[in-house]
Structure formats: C-alpha cells, structure tokens
C-alpha cells in the first residue's frame, strides 16, 4: 500500500499553522503538479493535478472528502479517483511542542485498484511518499515565509 508520512517542526505557534492550513486556497497551488481545484462544500472538494511518475506524466482528477476537522490540530480526509480507479486517505496533524514551536505532520496513503492495480501501486510506492514530503515541506516553507 503506497504511503508516506513527513514531519516538520516549525518555530511558530500552532495557531499560525492552523490559520494557513485551514484555508485550502492558500496552499492548493503548493500541491506538486497542481492544475486546479474546486471547493464543492466545506467538506468536499475536487482536484486536478499532473503527477510525474517517472515513465510519464499523468493528469489525475480526484475528490477529497473531509472526515474530521478538529481545530487547530487535525484534518483527516478520504481520496477518491475521478478519472482513475484508486482510493486513499490522509491526514494533517499539528502538535504544539511549546507556545512557539509546532510539529506538523502530513500523511498520504493511496492504493490503485482494478486489473492494473499491482503495477500502478509499484509506481505509486515512490510517488506517494515523495508527494507527501514535497507538499508538507512546501507548506512549511510557505508558512514560514508568510509569518516573517
């Protein structure tokens, strides 16, 4: 099951982290290969991005359904492929280490299904952790930048 988890510690209060992460429009362009997103409701959105899986680049459309929204620490979500047969989930977790320091954790877990699932999962095995890492790091860098 392709998955990836990345942790980053930022020298910022948890409120600053939450302020940025809770507004999807702020970090959407930071998603690797981002093309567009549409907010359907508070709990649902659709995304289009181009994933570089080495052999080729694939434009993927997926739906994100928020499962938990616990301010200011936790967002969990489910992912469903709209043009491809895959599903997954993920979470964002912020943990206050002190008044001025926060640990930020990003997780993605995606599994391809169907006839070609085993092959695609072999490709995703590298792609998913790299995407989780890139996205978490980009968000962290942006949060630092906007709080300077």
């Amino acid at each position: 099951m392709p998955s990836g988890t990345t942790e980053v510690v930022l020298d910022l209060p948890i409120e600053n982290i939450w302020d940025f992460v809770s507004d999807m429009d702020k970090w959407a362009p930071l998603v690797p290969g981002y093309i567009e997103h549409e907010i359907i409701s508070d709990m649902q959105s659709t995304w289009t991005f181009k994933g570089d899986i080495g052999i080729m680049q694939k434009t993927v459309k997926l739906q994100v359904d928020i499962k938990e929204w616990i301010e200011p620490t936790t967002v969990t979500f489910d992912l469903t492929g709209l043009n491809e047969n895959f599903a997954g989930n993920g979470y964002f977790q912020a943990d206050a280490l002190s008044d001025h320091q926060t640990k930020m954790t990003g997780n993605l877990d995606i599994t391809a299904k169907g006839m070609m699932g085993p092959m695609i999962n072999a490709i995703l095995k590298n792609f998913v952790p790299k995407t989780a890492e890139d996205l978490t790091n980009r968000i962290a860098e942006e949060i630092v930048a906007v709080n300077q």
Partner: protein, 549 residues
C-alpha cells in the same frame, strides 16, 4: 557541411556513431570488437533511441533460436515471403538477400559477444504467415528480461518506455495486456528488470560499456566535416551549448533515427502528414539533413513504419501528450473504424503497417484524401467490457474524454458525423457481422487480424455493434518512424547522387534507406535490418584504413 580546414578537433577517435538505438549500438560494438576506438554521440539525455521505445524485436529468418526449437526455415522461403511483400519496392534487391544471409549471423554474434538473449514467443508469427514462405512463429525474436542494475551508473539512463509494461511478448507485454500478470510487472519494476526494447538496449549497452566505448549524452551531431576529397572525417556536435568537433579517423555512422517529427521533411517526402508520431520527439531528421548536405542519394523516401495512433489526453511523455501505439482492440469484434464522413474505409484487421496506408488514399471524386483526418474507432459495450482499449480497462467506467452515448445518433452528434450516415454504416455492418462476413473490406480474412485477436477465430474478429453504451475513439495518423534516408551499400556505406561511395559516411536503422521498401514482414521488420546493417557496417568501419585528421 564544414570543411576540415576550418576545424580544430576537440576529440579524435576512429569511429563516431550518431545515435544510441539498436543500429547505433550494434555498429559501436562490432567496430570496437574489431579493434576500433569508438565514440557515441546521443542527442537526448537517454540511451536507446527509437529501439528502447519499441518492442525490441528483430525479425530474422533462419535464426539460431528457430534451430534450437526445431523450426525449419530457409533462405528460399524467406526470400519468397519477402519478395511478395516488397513487390519490387525494395531499393536494392541485393540488400534483401544480404539481410536474409547475414541476419542470422548477427544474432549469433550478439549471442557470443553480448548478454542479449532472445526467445521465440509461442504463436507469434509473421504478419502474413499464410503467404508462401511465411512462418507461424520463429522469425520474430523476443528479448529476454534484462536487469538494468548491471549498467552501474547508467542504470537510470536507458530511455523510458511508456508503451510496454516490463513483460516479454510471450508474457503479454504487447499482445494482450488484459491478460498480463501485473504482479510480475510490479516485481520487475521494483528490481529495474526490463523487457522488450529496453532489454535489448540494456544488453547492447552493457557490451558498449565493457568495450570502453565513450558515450556523450545531450550531444547532438549537427554537421558533417569533410575534407577536400569529399570524404567525411568528423562531426560538429553541440555539447553544453558549445560546438564540439569530433574527428573520425575511419568514419561516421549516422544512426540517429528517422524524420517523423520534422513536419517540413514529412511534407516534402511522404504522401500525407504524420499527425501523431509514436517515437521519441528527437527524431527530427538530423541525420538525413547531414547526409543530403554531403551529397547522398536517397532511397525509399515515401515510406514510413506506419501505425494508427490513439491518445489518452491525460498522459504525457516528456512534456507533450503521448501518442499511444496501435490498440489490438481495433481488430476485435463489436468495433469498426469510420472516416470523417461516417463510412468504413479499411479492413480493421490489417497490420499496423498496412491500415494507415488507407489514410492516404486519394479520392478522385472529391479530390481529397477522404480518410485523412477525423477517423474514429466506433465500438459498443460488449467490447468495452472485455478488452483493454488504449488505457481503458474492462470493468471500469470510460473516462469523460471518450465520446459515449446510449444511441448511435447521440454518438454521431458528439463526433460531428451525420447521424443518418453513421447509423446506415453500422446497420450495414451489423447485418453482415451477424453472419460473420465482411464483403466490403474482407475483415476476418487476414492472418494478422486473427493473431491480434488471440487466434480465436472469426467470431473474435467480426461482431455487431448493438449493445449500448456506444463509444468513439479518434484514430490518428501515426508512425513508429520513417523508413527512408541515404542509399547504402552492402557495408552500410552511403552512396552519393553520382552513384559513388562517400568515403567515411555510413547509415543504418531508420536514418538510412529502408531495404524492404514498404514491406513489414512481421514484428521486428524495422529492428531486424537495423541490427544487421549496424553489424555489417561496424566491421567495415573498423577495417577501413585510418585517415589523417
């Protein structure tokens, strides 16, 4: 071209090879094996050219693997088979004979000198195996898996192949992906074990490395350097944005691919456009231009390795939408192909080399190429449910980029065809299809159509389009490569417009004149001659006397 007097060499060697596909690497190996110092200049940042992008299958009569399996073959049978297909279109009949004679020796040579091994895929025959001299299996050789980890620091430099999963032909790598073992695919991907074109290139390149041949990536050859006597003595390449002059004491091999990505050259030489080339986009005719500048005579210029193209707009390769190769689904029952007027125009069971020739048929009544542009594959839910069609897996919903409707009328409107015409075409097809006949285009009568549909007989090839949902996929004019270039002799040496040899200049593969004219005898009809003439040229180059640079 440049005069030698105006050049200061950055590097001197015996043999310069332009390109790194099958023809190029075979030349380099043979020349190095015969004692020459060889340098390879590759335009892109990956090794393998069109060969790595392909099935990697050479078509070779009388090869050692046939003998091992007890499959009988002879020069006479191969000659008889090829003569019918070429029909006199071959530029030099002597070279066809030479190919039959030498191809098997080339395979022996690769067996002895390289890790390249082949197997014979069961039931994968010549594309016209029922013609006199044809074989039901044996001449198309399937590269055995090769671990790219053996290439050390070059492991990740073999051109990526988005076409074929890492399965052999026998394992379903190209013939029927819907039956492929995708767990094996996953295992091979993790271990970087390749098959098909990448396996062939991997094995050849391992030998290139072992012989100490130096390879420069991202270093395109741009211009030949000639001396006062009209001999080619080197190349001006470009490396890191600067001119890079490489002198060749013995000669230069042009094996840098075809010209299918050069629109101007395609329009000049071919009978119509190649709108969707299915090869690496580096094949822009660089070698052809250099050879023409050197005064080369040309041959077979109106021919290409045709292949209908399909597109999944969500998949890109090297920054552009990837042109998918032929889909065997178009040969299967419950589907037809129509032109932009909604009429059938071809036997859909024809080979990928033959089918696209119908795109370029001139219609005297409309004074147009009536089948050029706007062709569609029309199929129904029955086919959708059982076949992998381009990237659509059976049992999965068709993506929104595929026109689809519950009625033929609705489908016709989506693809801008007169509904009455498409309905009439399909009603007529269905009427015959229920009796498993095609009096209009003879579908079901070709050996290839039967092979492509798994040898399951007429019902797998002809069936009505009658169960909603109905689908349409655009079919584009593609080519695996072009097939014309400088005329060559029996050593791969280039012949001038005056019929004389151009000293120091050689060509092979898609960069050279195709020796089989417009014929494509079976899988490997491109790579077979490419490897054979690379093998012949490498020896001749190495045994040419050194020139003063």
């Amino acid at each position: 071209m440049l005069s030698k007097d105006k050049v200061t060499w950055d590097l001197e060697t015996d043999v310069v090879v332009l390109g790194s596909g099958g023809a190029a690497l075979t030349t380099a190996i043979r020349a190095a094996d015969e004692g020459a110092e060889v340098v390879i200049l590759e335009k892109s940042d990956e090794i393998g050219g069109t060969t790595a992008f392909s099935g990697g299958i050479p078509w070779i009569p009388e090869n050692r693997y046939m003998k091992e399996k007890g499959i009988k073959d002879s020069f006479e049978e191969a000659k008889q088979y090829l003569s019918h297909l070429t029909g006199g279109s071959e530029p030099d009949p002597k070279l066809v004979d030479l190919y039959i004679h030498e191809g098997k020796h080339m395979i022996d040579y690769l067996y002895e000198k390289t890790p390249v091994r082949f197997s014979i895929p069961r039931g994968y025959g010549d594309y016209y195996a029922n013609n006199p001299g044809g074989k039901n299996e044996g001449r198309s050789l399937d590269p055995e898996p090769f671990p790219l980890t053996k290439l050390g620091e070059w492991e990740h430099k073999i051109r990526r192949n988005p076409i074929f999963p890492p399965l052999t032909l026998a394992e379903g790598g190209a013939s029927d992906p819907s039956k492929a073992d995708f767990s094996l695919v996953a295992e091979r991907m993790e271990k970087n074990i390749t098959t098909m074109g990448r396996a062939l290139i991997g094995g050849l390149f391992k030998t290139v490395l072992d012989f100490g041949v130096k390879t420069y990536l991202s270093t395109p050859g741009e211009e030949l350097v000639m001396d006062d006597d009209g001999a080619v003595v080197g190349v001006r390449a470009v490396k890191d944005g600067e001119d890079f002059f490489v002198g060749a004491r013995k000669g230069v091999m042009i094996a840098s691919g075809g010209f299918e990505w050069n629109e101007e050259l395609v329009n000049t030489f071919l009978s119509g456009p190649i709108t969707h080339p299915q090869s690496p986009a580096y094949n822009e005719g660089d070698g052809l231009i250099m050879a023409m500048e050197a005064g080369a005579a040309l041959g077979n210029m109106d021919s290409a390795w045709w292949s209908p193209a399909f597109v999944d707009p969500t998949i890109e390769y090297e920054g552009r939408v990837y042109n998918q190769i032929d889909s065997s689904a178009r040969t299967m029952a419950n589907s037809i192909m129509v032109n932009k007027s909604g009429k059938r125009f071809v036997n859909e069971g024809a080979t990928y080399q033959d089918l696209p020739k119908a795109f370029y048929t001139y219609d005297q009544n409309t004074q147009t190429l009536a089948n050029s542009g706007g062709a569609w594959m029309i199929f129904d839910q029955q086919l959708k449910d059982r076949a992998l069609i381009v990237t659509m897996a059976p049992g999965e919903e068709a993506p929104d980029w595929v026109p689809q409707s519950d009625s033929i009328e609705g489908l016709a409107k989506q693809i801008d065809i007169e509904p009455e015409v498409l309905e009439e075409t399909i009603n007529h097809w269905n009427e015959n299809a229920r009796n498993h006949v095609d009096p209009d285009f003879g579908r079901g009568g070709l050996y290839f159509g039967n092979m492509a549909t798994g040898g399951a007989g007429i019902e797998a090839m002809i069936g009505p389009i009658e169960k909603a949902t109905f689908y349409a996929l655009p079919v584009y004019q593609g080519a695996l490569g072009t097939n014309g270039g400088p005329r060559i002799d029996e050593h791969g040496q280039v012949i001038s417009l005056r019929g004389e040899l151009i000293p120091g200049l050689y060509a092979a593969g898609n960069a050279a004149m195709g020796i089989l004219g417009g014929a494509y005898p079976g899988a490997g009809g491109t790579i077979g001659p490419a490897l054979t003439f690379g093998y012949l040229a490498g020896k001749h180059l190495a045994n040419t006397a050194n020139r003063e640079l």
